[in-house]
Amino acid sequence: MKYLRVQDQVENTGAAVPGALSPSDFSGTWFNTNSYNPEITCVICKAEGSVLSVRFKGNGSSEPSDWGEVTAELLYAANIQGGPAMSFVTSFDLGFKKVQVGANLNQGLLVIATYHRSQNDTGASASNYFAREFFHRADQS
């Protein structure tokens, strides 16, 4: 078995079931912990089987109010043995920019890293940039 890190060398991979990661832990509506000046205000996740759909809502000024819905392209477990998905990657094409997204669950938070790649050559104002925001579940009480 090939590997490029010690942690990728496992003697028993019987517990791992490729492609069977469940995204159900992401299901629901998540709100930005920063209510003052969020870029992404809200994330809506829907899990159906092994498919996760994700919709971003933006602040309507620096970011579109609705980014639309995309499917998580890949799901990731917390370790090589598999288990529930606790991370996903996806991307949005907003026309004027493309945004790659890496997300993970941590301590009850949904942590979302966005890498914004401008599609216009408009100088410094269009430089590629990175952002990280934190989301809590909608109050279910």
Binding site: E73, Y76, N79, Q100, N128, Y129, F130
Partner: protein, 141 residues
Amino acid sequence: MDNSELYRAGGTAVAVKRTLDASALLGEWSNTNPSATGIVRLVLTETGDQIVVRVFGAGHPQPFDWGEAPAELFADLPGLMQATSFTSFHDPGFMSVWLLTYVVKGVLVVVSFTRFQDGSGRSNYFGKEFFYRSREAAAVQ
């Protein structure tokens, strides 16, 4: 769902146009955990108009050299020209790893999204490791 092409940071055969200042990233970064079993070291260098990253995975007796991949740079905000983040994609065939990184208070945070493509049963998994700058750019040229 194979969308690896999306994460190829401009592709191995296509030059990544660089407009951001990479000085805060160039050099050697070592894992803060001396017993790390994941990535032990990253080296970022400037090659013409590109920034490339060389990754070393934990291994015995020597670390595994993943080789070089183009690094795509990102700033903290759209108008800033100082890069504080990069992404890169590494695909030796049997696995692929997308790295999302960012610098916080002098620490390079490296988030890795690992996918196995060899039918070994190993699960896709998410990881996060922390690195300090062990050598400045001039020392690794």
